[in-house]
């Protein structure tokens, strides 16, 4: 008799979602987390006496069905959504501002271009319509093309119906735009470069792509799938930081009966005759279970933990070639006063509650990307910042009046640097300086307000969080690692090449970000498989 029904390796948010669903269904489930707390990249940590969202900062893409099924509100999850979604100050002192309320966005855009103001509602509608289709796709397990069963046929029919439901125009549009460069996609609707950039940015965020790269439109549309994003994108905070979401998930899992062990470093996934048998911990302890679910990325799972003889050289080669070129650094800042953006004269407070974007134009993003292609960090990185303490003052409880947290995702900072690594003296700091300088250029005096700073490079993401190549999405979300072939063809249905081994996190369909969707889908598949066997 095995020790457990299911062992979940890793305690990131998707792993917790899977564990909670499985435990709810009565499976004896154990979660093993290497670090001393769960959450992975959805983590609230301390910096200079205040609490900061260490990596991810917003949680608005979490699927409503996950929140509902696991009753996360009763486990303490509280969400807050400011009126403003995006504030994009420009070097010339003007700004693009996108609001939750469409009419307000349109009114503001009229200062830039009447054409764009008129186009915005239609574009917003299109993004939402295509996003709804992608959300349905995301909630389904990709069909089995090798040996399709009744279920696959039904899924196919259902998706076919949803596809037709888009109507002739939108169904033609989605086939055309998915593989498109996002720069072209936004240019079809808007003439203002600053607006194009503010929207297109979401098509390249966390990816080793520029706005002129094919397939970036798919990323933009998927970002708005299953949430209230639309053209502006979501900006929703968890009170207490993203760690609060992880805690609520862990609490739900425990309540359902799952056990969670932190400080438990899995060193190997054990198997016999191409069937998984359990895991071995770095401590030497061995645990057995007929089902092992990996919440890690596919490369780490298959190249790092699986038995090389069992998976064989060909699969190992494919797993090793799974692309994970991390390109984002995270810079967390504690400041002693709110930044004063030239473009936000007056009502700072209101405008700064959403995502603040330093991406002044399509070409500016593309040029920042260019440097990354040749293994250099950009001197003028594209930044997406939030000031969560404006929405959630509890983060800075006890700190001096005026203290705020500025959370910055800085791109492009490639994992692979020419002629050295991120550990080489001063590289990380120098990049941190560039990030502060970009913000200081838009909000003069910002640099002098910084009281504490941490720079988390892609190399840190790999070492501290176990993300291969420092990729926050567990691997590129480009067209070649998508849907049925995420992480790769033959393993796109949460089942990895060893029987009983599953993948439940961002390396599986529908991919990265805090959605809980891969975790939910994987749990459904595992339950279906184990029910059959019982």
């Amino acid at each position: 008799m095995a020790d457990l029904d299911v062992i979940v390796v890793g305690g990131g948010h998707n792993a917790l979602v899977t564990a909670a669903y499985l435990a709810k269904a009565g499976r004896r489930t154990l979660v093993l987390e290497r670090r001393d707390h769960v959450g992975g990249a959805a983590e609230t940590a301390e910096l200079d006496g205040v609490r900061v969202p260490r990596l991810a900062d917003t949680v608005g893409r979490i699927r409503p069905s996950v929140v509902k099924d696991l009753d996360l509100r009763s486990h303490g999850l509280r969400l807050a959504a400011p009126d403003v979604r995006v504030f994009a100050p420009q070097p010339d002192g003007r700004a693009i501002t996108l609001w939750s309320e469409q009419a307000r966005t349109v009114a503001g855009l009229r200062d830039w271009s009447g054409h764009d103001a008129d186009s915005y509602p239609d574009f917003d509608r299109l993004v939402r319509s295509l996003g709804r289709f992608l959300a349905e796709l995301a909630a389904e397990t990709p069909p089995d093309i090798k040996a399709p069963g009744i279920g696959d046929a039904l899924t196919g029919l259902k998706l076919g119906r949803t596809f037709r439901g888009l109507g002739k125009h939108d169904s033609h549009t989605i086939l055309r735009v998915l593989p498109m460069a996002v720069a072209d996609f936004v240019a079809e609707a808007f003439e203002t470069d600053a607006l194009r950039a503010a929207i297109a940015w979401r098509g390249v965020r966390s990816s080793f792509l520029g706005p002129w790269s094919a397939g970036s439109t798919a990323i933009l549309l998927a970002d708005g799938a299953g949430n209230d994003g639309g053209a502006a994108g979501q900006t929703v905070f968890a009170i207490g930081g993203p760690g609060a979401l992880s805690e609520a998930l862990a609490s739900a899992a425990r309540k359902a009966g799952a056990e969670i062990r932190c400080g438990a470093d899995v060193a190997a996934i054990t198997s016999l005759d191409n069937r998984v048998t359990g895991v071995a911990l770095a401590s030497g302890e061995e645990l057995t279970a007929p089902v092992v679910v990996s919440g890690l990325d596919p490369k780490r799972t298959l190249v790092g933990l699986a038995d090389p003889v069992t998976i064989g050289p060909s699969m190992r080669w494919r797993a090793a070639n799974y692309r994970t070129p991390g390109v984002v650094a995270k810079v967390n800042l504690v400041v002693d006063r709110l930044p004063r953006f030239t473009a936000a004269a007056g009502d700072d407070d209101q405008l700064l509650r959403g995502r603040i974007l330093a991406a002044p134009g399509i070409d500016a993003i593309e040029r920042a990307f260019d440097t990354a292609k040749y293994g250099r960090a950009s001197d003028t990185p594209v930044l997406e910042a939030t000031i969560p303490s404006l929405v959630d003052p509890s983060l800075v409880d006890g700190a001096p009046e005026g203290t705020h947290v500025v959370s910055v995702s800085a791109q492009y900072a490639p994992y692979t640097l020419r002629g050295g690594t991120w550990d080489d003296g001063g590289r990380a700091d120098a990049f941190g300086d560039q990030v502060v300088a970009v913000l200081d250029g838009l909000a003069p005096g910002f640099a002098s307000s910084v009281r504490a700073r941490e720079v988390i490079t892609p190399l840190d993401l790999e070492r501290d969080y176990g993300l291969s190549g420092g990729h926050p999405l567990h691997g590129e979300q480009a067209l070649d690692q998508f849907f049925l072939w995420r992480p790769f063809l033959g393993s796109g249905r949460y089942r990895l090449p060893i029987d009983g081994l599953y993948l439940c996190a961002s390396g599986a369909h529908p991919g990265g970000g805090i959605t809980g969707q891969p975790g939910q889908n994987a749990a459904r598949e595992i339950l279906a498989d184990t029910k059959r066997r019982r």
Binding site: V177, P179, G215, D363, A478, D480
Partner: protein, 541 residues
């Protein structure tokens, strides 16, 4: 009353001529109208400099469909394709594994020799090359049928056009999983990422990836460029038909052969007959009106082999099409990205890495020393500049076909990437930059063959603007519309309109703006003609 035709075809490029031949073969009274004095569109041979004949634009044949060669009996009409052997990638002093001086990478059709050459660079790459080559041949075998089908409209309720797709799905299912995965990668990855999985040798990857960017406004690191890597191998499976090489007498030789085949089957061909307008009556195309004379020619069906933008926005009376369709056509992207420099020289180029007039000059000479330089060339173009260090695909046709130049002299054909049609404002127009572009090309060649400039007797620079002006190809795009993922298959030229039919009844497209895209394939012209014939049969029945 003027003569009446069953079919009139606008444009005497290779696709227009192929359509004409197939329609005439089926007994239709067919007329081809070509605006220029020569047939061939972008596949023409012209004597630009006394005694020197040039394939002015398109310069090699790689993909001319074997069934067309066979069915139209093109060899009987003078088609003779001379094989090009190998690809030579010269490097500069200090580059490559050779001790001391500069090196080169030279792949030839003799497999054993290529493997030995690769082993010299990096033994593991030689091994990978064999595996890779086999895989690509299998892939090409799977893809080939797609080139011959009419794309279905996925949103249509009529299931019949979906049938060939079902067949494709089944043959996909039957592939081993590894090959399925590679197929997906080919359709979605960048050429550089795809090749990175196999190879280390930079000039090898750069040279192979070059085929992925030819004629596109994309770089070797842009997703969607891997697919074209296959094309090379398609030629290989068609090898028995000698479909890869240069046509004797230049690419005009192909056009003349197809033209002659069409004539012998009964088609009529008129040159210097530019079409000004497609005549439409009550929603159906009824013929064309010529520019200048105003002559009207009536026909049951009109086929346009010119690109989608020129056909729909240039040749139709405004208001003929509904606004939404017009919008789709306006969105169809062209963005020509390549130029051509044709040179007459008094001696062969002398490369520092392999001096002498050897065999290495008889194939393609690829200026692609590294992935980075390929990508930087694209970066220039992204911001509206022609590449300072462009990728050049050089061919010296006189080495395989000495009739193209006086004895002892040579013709050098340089295909150059990138030359964006839309220049950055600070550069002005292509009329201002033509010679600067030509200089950049000669300078680039001189990096590898230092005394090259001294050998030049005559230089003809074709910028994308010149290509547009002469051949009518919108924005100088050699494929009649970018070959990006969103403009392929059922999206070419517009979603829901990929079946050669147009919203105007009896008006058909038969050029490269349709599936399966550009290149001297002839597939578009053939499938379009077959669709026209099928529809006539259906109507007659």
């Amino acid at each position: 009353m003027a003569e009446r035709y069953d079919a009139v075809i606008i444009g005497g490029g290779h696709n227009g001529l192929v359509s004409a031949a197939y329609l005439a073969r089926a007994g239709m009274k067919t007329l081809v109208l070509e605006q220029r004095h020569v047939l061939g569109g972008a596949a023409v041979t012209e004597e630009l400099f006394p005694g020197f004949r040039f394939s002015v634009f398109s310069y090699v044949v790689s993909l001319l469909r074997p069934e067309i060669i066979r069915e139209l009996q093109l060899p009987r009409h003078g088609l003779d394709i001379l094989p090009l052997d190998g690809t030579f990638t010269p490097l500069r002093t200090g580059e490559g594994p050779k001790a001391g001086g500069g090196d080169y990478l030279w792949r030839v059709n003799d497999h054993g020799r290529t493997i030995r050459e690769l082993r010299r660079w990096w033994p593991a790459d030689a091994e990978a090359y064999e595996e890779y080559g086999q895989l690509m041949v299998e892939m090409a075998r799977f893809i080939k049928p797609i080139l011959g089908i009419t794309p279905p409209d996925l949103t249509s309720l009529d299931p019949r056009p979906l049938l060939p797709l079902g067949g494709l799905l089944r043959s996909f299912q039957q592939l081993p999983e590894r090959q399925q995965a590679v197929f997906v990668q080919l359709m979605t990855m960048s050429a550089a990422d795809f090749l990175d999985q196999w190879f280390e040798t930079d000039p090898l990857k750069a040279t192979m990836s070059a085929s992925g960017i030819i004629g596109t406004y994309l770089g070797v690191r842009s997703p969607g460029t891997a697919y074209v890597l296959l094309h090379h191998y398609m030629g290989e499976i068609d090898g028995a038909f000698r479909a890869w090489g240069i046509p004797k007498g230049g690419t005009g030789g192909i056009s003349n052969a197809i033209g002659s085949a069409a004539r012998s089957l009964g088609a009529e061909i008129r040159t210097e007959a530019p079409v000004e307008r497609i005549l439409v009556n009550a929603g159906r195309a009824t013929g064309v009106a010529l520019a200048g004379s105003g002559e009207e020619i009536r026909a049951d069906v009109v086929l346009s082999s010119v690109d989608a933008r020129r056909t729909f926005l240039g040749l139709l009376e405004p208001g003929t099409l509904d606004g939404e369709f017009e919008e789709e056509i306006r969105r169809f992207k062209f963005r020509g990205s390549s130029g051509k420099v044709n040179l007459a020289v008094d001696r062969l180029p002398l490369f520092t890495s392999l001096p002498g007039a050897g065999e290495h000059l008889r194939g393609a000479i690829s200026f692609s020393p590294s992935i980075d330089e390929m990508e930087q060339a694209y970066d220039d173009a992204k911001y509206g500049h022609f590449s300072k260090k462009p990728y050049i695909d050089m061919i010296i046709p006189t080495l395989v076909d000495p009739t193209m130049a006086p004895p002892g002299k040579h013709v050098v054909s340089c295909f150059v990437q990138y030359a964006p049609y839309h220049l950055a404002p600070e550069l002005g127009t292509w009329d201002d930059q033509r010679e600067a572009f030509g200089d950049a090309v000669v300078n680039r060649i001189s990096e590898f063959a230092p005394r090259f400039a001294d050998s030049i007797l005559f230089r003809n620079v074709q910028t994308p603007l010149d290509i547009e002006r002469t051949t009518g190809l919108t924005e100088g795009n050699i494929f009649q519309g970018e070959l990006t993922l969103e403009q392929l298959f059922f999206n070419r030229p517009a979603p829901g309109h990929a079946r050669f039919r147009t919203p105007v009844r009896d008006l058909w497209l038969c050029g490269s703006s349709t599936h399966p895209g550009g290149g001297i394939m002839g597939a578009n012209g053939r499938i379009a003609a077959l669709e026209v014939l099928r529809s006539r049969r259906r109507r007659a029945a």
